[in-house]
Amino acid sequence: MLQRASAPPTGPRGRAGPRGNNSSTTAISRGGIRKRRSGTPRIDKDGDLDMDTPVEGMGGRGRGRGRGAQMGNQNGGNTIAGRGQPRNAPQGGFFGGASVQQAILRGMARGDARIRGPRAGLGATSALGETVDRRRERDAGLDQIRVRGLKESKAALNEDGGVRDLLAFLERKANGPDTKPGDAVRIKKSRSEGDSVIISVRPEDAPKFLRLNAFQFAHSILAIERHKGPPTRDDASQPFESAEALDTKQILAGFLSRRYSVEQKLLDLSNLGADQRLLGRGFFDQDSTASKLFPAMMKIADQLFTSSKEKREAVVSVVLSNNALKDISMVSSLAATFPDIKNLDLSNNKFVDMRSLDGWRWRFRNLEQLVLTDNPIETLTPTYKDEILRWYPTLRMLDGIQVRSDQELAALAANRALASAGKLPIPIRPASFLDQGQVGENFVKHFFPAYDLDRENLANSFYDARSTFSFSVNTSAPRALGGEGQKSLNWDAYIKGSRNLKKLSHLSARMARAHTGTEDIRSCWSTLPATRHPDLLSMGSKWMIECHGLPGLTDVTGQSATGVGGLIIVVHGEFDEVSVSTGITKRSFDRTFVLGPGAGVGGIRVVSDMLTLRAYGGYESFTPEDIDPSTTTGVTSVASKQPQIPEGLGEPTAGKSLEQVRKEQMVIEMSKRTGMTLEFSNMCLDEKAWDFDSAILAFQDVKVNRTSPLMR
């Protein structure tokens, strides 16, 4: 132990220990460790803290490290385990550890630069010049640490008893050589108490000072421990933690800092059971404490960061190898604390199948590299690689082998960017209107004006004794961005008849709200408020109407046992609800019709009519995304999609025929929907004999198809 203390400061005090220091041969018995827990004198603790004792199971750890090197190289030097280095390389040693811890602790230290120790540059004088009140304010919340051993040191002969040198030594050692001045930890206050010096430091800095226990200072071994004397805390809102809890926290925080590599942004939680300090705390003596260890550690790690961004940047890789894990239950909290890690090493554990990893199925959504080598899963569940690929869509490397191409991952990243904007990689395309002999077109053109004006007759025209109708209200549907639908909507007029099966579970209500036959349907319609749908031709962009053929409908004539063919039409649109009491309310709707041959107008009948009502959702979502203006004749840029409409165009004026007004409105609408100029819209419509839908279809045919290869 003495040897350790006098070791050069660069010696990897914290980290070398568990890795094995072959020069140290005196194994400390666990009994000694326990003694400390039962409150034995400080001198025993010194012994405890000699964690350089060879530990059983270290060989396993060494093997684990060797393995990791292979994958580290493939990740552009960002080794997952930092295991490329020789086992006993100092790796920055203690000082590295200190600066690392500093990096981890930076979040807590941030913003506190003003709190400086007496010798910290500007602070050197200002601390003295401050009012008592302000000093008291600053001293609140400091931790006290007792340092013994000064009296035995040669420095004790100095004028001031060596205090100044001691404090300088402690600060220097706590910080390490690499610390930037602005990041340095400081001793805030100090006082002598008997043979001891009591220093006050920020709580998050305390572990760095406590770790200096058993360091050699001027030929004396320092004994450093938390001082449990009169508290300096006066923050009543922060209840005291028990000394034991503080001690545990401190040990775990110290452990984390020793296992963190700032250069590699890696947290090495491998072989936890072999860590002498953790062993010393008896964490592994009982299952109950062992199971709490990891969550506690994660909680402490969590507290070290102020934001998830900071955490994401500080810890990119985590190693959990060599922990004899049968499943992830003990360590599942890793996913909550470090959800954004990119590299995870689970090698050399006891995972047998995918269920062993089940809790992490939807976690680590940015995982790029996973190592599962040296687990029974390799032989017991040979398909695990396929499964893992499905689990982690961004995974690039599995067990050191590239499993997704860079191209694939780039495409995925692009899709993710789209998704975050609420968009899809598959473009929104114009209506798929696969009509049959204009049956659908004629029906829709007829239906909605008639529904607004004369539902009574409409029911007679297309519905028969076997037609069915029902409607449902989606009272919480998303609304249009901004504006119109914002006032809270009242659904009173509809809710009693709504057949939303998500909410309606009683069979009787379900039955009562499905309407069969002309009479029943007409009577239901008569209870619904009056409506005004926008004109289909002049305001076509407010509609989205799709249809296609559908076989297997009932043959009402009874001639065909195998049924007859028909048409399914799906309509999305909006309407103004016109009510005497509440005025005009804009709402959106979705309505599906199934048409079959029948005795109605045009030889058709409505087989089914299903209406969904919802808050106004606008019509922006109907706009196709795949119109490429540069390749389409006569198309203006998308930016100027709103045509400059000459005054009076499309409006009835003296001398203008109604037909002319209608045509002008069609031209405007055509222009809006296609992005073409008014002139080209006019030409296109003229060519199609002023049949709006035909003109639109013709336009779409001209467009360059940017279809996904998966599309027909």
Partner: protein, 185 residues
């Protein structure tokens, strides 16, 4: 129209013909089938896209060149169920669907395109079903991504295999014949 089994008939408060009875009876059955469909299909889109094809009738093309099932996604016509599955597996980001409202109707109480239906005539299981769904969807894994309203219409038809092959557990009773999806906000 075939006669109805007693247990179905008791659910029906009908004084009309057996035709009305068949429609009404199916209306009670159909809600169960539709609920089961909605409760399994959307979760599959989220987490078991590899199984998507199992929701669809086998792809067929008739003499006029019309193919079934008909699958339309935001105006994109997909050629067959594997194309739908591949679109979700390969191109779609993670999705979170929330079904806020749905309704259903019996389309044809005795659906059959080739000979008698797969189930006994009086089982009430030979119907085809129309379902409309209204809800929202969020793309990607970020909970901050905007939600988009969607509307989706399905036609389900009886699964021939479910009746003929002494259906073992897990076989779906109804399969998608037609599907039309649109983002509506």
């Amino acid at each position: 129209m075939t006669t109805l089994s007693a247990d179905i008939a008791t659910k029906v408060s009908t004084e009309g013909s057996s035709l009305f009875a068949a429609i009404s009876a199916s209306l009670s059955n159909v809600a169960v089938a539709a609920t089961e469909f909605v409760d399994t299909y959307y979760p599959a889109l989220q987490s078991s896209r590899g199984k998507l094809s199992s929701f669809y009738i086998p792809s067929t093309t008739d003499t006029e060149g019309k193919t079934l099932p008909v699958l339309v996604f935001n105006g994109n016509v997909l050629s067959d169920p594997p194309a739908m599955r591949l679109m979700f597996e390969k191109e779609m980001p993670a999705t979170t669907y929330e079904v806020q409202a749905f309704d259903c109707q019996v389309l044809n109480p005795n659906y059959s395109t080739a000979g008698p239906g797969p189930h006994p005539p009086d089982s009430g299981k030979n119907m085809s079903i129309l379902i409309s769904v209204s809800g929202w969807v969020r793309f990607g894994e970020s909970k901050e991504a905007p939600i988009r309203g969607f509307s989706e219409t399905f036609v389900l038809v009886p699964n021939l295999a479910a009746a003929t092959a002494k259906a073992k557990g897990g076989v779906r009773n109804w399969l998608i014949q037609s599907q039309t999806f649109r983002l509506v906000t």
